[in-house]
């Protein structure tokens, strides 16, 4: 019997979250039944979650893991890095560089992506984003910033 599987991990994370929210909610004041304080409702919800996640962990640990899809590490890394770079670049250098770099990196989530293909694709996406958000919706975000 394998005790440590994905369900157990998620169940434990939920349990930790429930305990954190419950202990924090206590500090907010429970109020009285007539006038509930800000901590009362989150505390009740967090306790319920703690009980359920404990049950989930116990049940999941007692049975073998259901055959699940393997994690897509490549997609996870490329999309994660792409979004991170977007968030890092956008406030510093503007929208267009952020979309350009983000798209190039994101494109490599797919095994078939080639370097040239990702650059061309990224150019197209930049044009589309500028057309929709800048000209279409009139979004007040600087397209370029800093360097110029």
């Amino acid at each position: 019997m394998r005790v440590f599987n994905r369900e157990v991990v998620v169940g434990l994370v939920l349990l930790a979250m429930a305990l954190y929210f419950a202990s924090t909610a206590m500090d907010y004041g429970l109020g009285s039944a007539r006038r509930l304080g800000p901590g009362y409702f989150p505390l009740v919800v967090a306790i319920a979650l703690a009980i359920l996640s404990a049950i989930i962990v116990v049940i999941a640990a007692r049975r073998p893991e259901a055959t699940a899809a393997p994690p897509q590490w490549r997609a996870l890394a490329a999309i994660g890095a792409g979004i991170f770079l977007f968030a890092y670049i956008a406030p510093r250098y503007g929208l267009v560089p952020a979309v350009a770099v983000g798209s190039i990196v994101t494109a490599f989530a797919d095994r078939r992506t080639t370097a040239a293909g990702s650059v061309i694709l990224s150019g197209g996406i930049c044009a589309g984003v500028v057309a929709v958000f800048h000209f279409g919706l009139g979004l007040p975000i600087a397209l370029f910033r800093g360097v110029w």
Binding site: V10, L14, P38, V45
Partner: protein, 500 residues
């Protein structure tokens, strides 16, 4: 009468016509592509809808929702890959029809069935909403609390996957919903000291992360092969026999959809599945099902479209969303400062009737873009997925960044994307989380008000008949959930304790 006097001028404005068409077109597009669901598309468009007039924004989002039900059948029929989960049943008989060389007829009949189901659903929406509203207007906060609790628990326990995980997801959503300043006392809660969280977690960020980003991570490298055939208009002409055999299944499908659409937790997928099961059971030729029976595509396609339209009944009449998609649409309303609930229609008749008229317009648009343009959608299946997903990621990022021009929102999006993917890997469905997130604060508010009026007496909440029934049903569902969760455990234990 308001349908014509109030709804027509709103829905037929140039802007609303344009966004209705854009919505259903995009919905069909998203529906045709396997791997991206309507919820992802709606979450993606949420930032765009903030820049529009609220009515226009909702017309757009709703159009994507029901448009995806039309488009979803295309890939199910041609490739055996359902475009949205509610079209999975359509593949059972739709794909065999393709193999029998009847793909054209299958595509035509699903469009017709979708239109029939959609129309009957809109009629139900038009005539059932008002009576529910008049009932709900007499609700006090105790009854609203009870109705929302039942809605939440039903959404979590009836949907896909294990009920106990569903309820856990609802609770997580409720905790996330309590992040931010407590409206009653002004005290910030669970902000982790971050200023950005004082207004709470935005529903757009949460939905785009949990569904958009995580779904893309999961589906990037799962693309199948495209359909290589061609569909001509001539091949779509059904025989008299096809029409005769589809007629009653479509009507029954619309009925099944009308029943399960408004119920929390069920929605289009379950409606489609049940209507298929019903047709198979009452058919005189059950052996033909699974081998290309036309009833097997007509009934579920009618059912899921009817369910999609009737899902708006509880959403608009009570402000209680039955599915994550409805929760996102309600969230869009709330961002525009509109309070959902029994007073919504009285306060915003132009929006309500405009929306209903736009549903008719949208369904007619869909009939037009699905039948003559079917060749275009078939070609769309040739587009490799790797051209699309970076564009979607870029759209989601720019959308998140556009709220406050704060990179924090984009990092939060990434965080929820990873959370959603992790949950998916462990077999947790994030949809109930979103419903809990949206309803949690409303449940809390109504509970507080109800307890104020009963002077803090919890038992008095059960005094009113409607409250008593709704809360007892909720308790029964929790009991059922606990039992189904613990049964295998008990079984194990009793085996271990027995002598051998």
């Amino acid at each position: 009468m308001e349908f014509f006097t109030v709804g027509f001028p709103v829905a037929f404005s140039l802007e609303n016509l344009f966004y209705c068409f854009f919505g259903v077109f995009l919905g069909t597009f998203i529906g045709v592509l396997p791997g991206i669901g309507a919820l992802t598309a709606i979450a993606m468009l949420l930032p765009v809808s903030f820049y529009l007039d609220p009515t226009t924004g909702i017309i757009l989002l709703a159009g994507v929702y029901y448009g995806a039900e039309y488009g979803g059948s295309t890939a199910a029929i041609l490739l055996n890959l359902p475009g949205t989960p509610s079209n999975a049943v359509t593949a059972l008989d739709g794909y065999p029809m393709t193999k029998n060389g009847r793909a054209g007829i299958a595509l035509l009949m699903t469009s017709v069935a979708s239109f029939v189901g959609g129309s009957i659903g809109i009629l139900a929406l038009t005539f059932l909403t008002q009576p529910i509203v008049s009932l709900a207007l007499s609700f006090s906060s105790a009854e609203m609390f009870a109705a929302m609790t039942l809605g939440l628990i039903a959404a979590a326990t009836i949907g896909q996957g294990s009920p106990i995980k569903g309820v856990a997801m609802v609770l997580v959503g409720m905790l996330l919903g309590s992040i931010g300043i407590d409206l009653d006392t002004g005290r910030p809660r669970f902000t982790f000291g971050m200023m950005e969280l004082f207004d709470g977690v935005s529903i757009a960020i949460l939905a785009m992360g949990l569904f958009g980003v995580s779904e893309l991570i999961a589906s990037v490298n799962s693309g199948g092969s495209g359909y290589r055939g061609k569909i001509t208009l001539r091949s779509m002409v059904p025989s008299r026999e096809d029409l005769r055999r589809s007629f009653f299944p479509m009507l029954r499908g619309a009925g099944v959809g009308g029943i399960f659409g408004p119920m929390p937790g069920t929605g289009p997928s379950i409606a489609a599945f049940l209507s298929y099961a019903l047709e198979k059971r009452i058919s005189r030729r059950p052996g033909e099902f699974g081998k290309g029976a036309i009833e097997g595509i007509a009934a579920p396609e009618s059912a899921n479209n009817s369910a999609v339209q009737t899902a708006f009944i509880p959403t608009l009449a009570l402000g209680i969303p039955g599915s994550a998609t409805m929760a996102v649409i309600l969230g869009a309303l709330m961002i525009h400062g509109i309070t959902p609930g029994p007073r919504f229609i009285t306060n915003h008749p132009d929006m309500y009737w405009g929306l209903i008229v736009s549903f008719w317009i949208g369904n007619i648009f869909l009939l037009i873009i699905n039948i003559p343009l079917v060749g275009l959608w078939v070609k769309l299946l040739h587009i490799p997925y790797n051209y699309l997903f970076p564009a979607i990621i870029a759209l989601v990022c720019v959308g998140a960044y556009s709220f406050n021009q704060n990179p924090f929102d984009v990092f939060l999006l990434l965080f929820f994307g990873f959370v959603g993917y992790g949950l998916k890997l462990a077999g947790f469905h994030p949809a109930p989380l979103l419903i809990g997130y949206l309803l949690g604060p409303m449940v809390e508010e109504n509970l507080r008000r109800a307890l104020q009026s009963t002077q803090g007496d919890f038992i008095a909440l059960f005094d009113r008949p409607i409250t008593a029934v709704l809360l007892s049903l909720s308790l029964a569902m929790i009991a059922w959930m606990t039992w189904t969760a613990l049964r295998p455990l008990m079984h194990d234990l009793s085996k271990r304790n027995s002598p051998n």
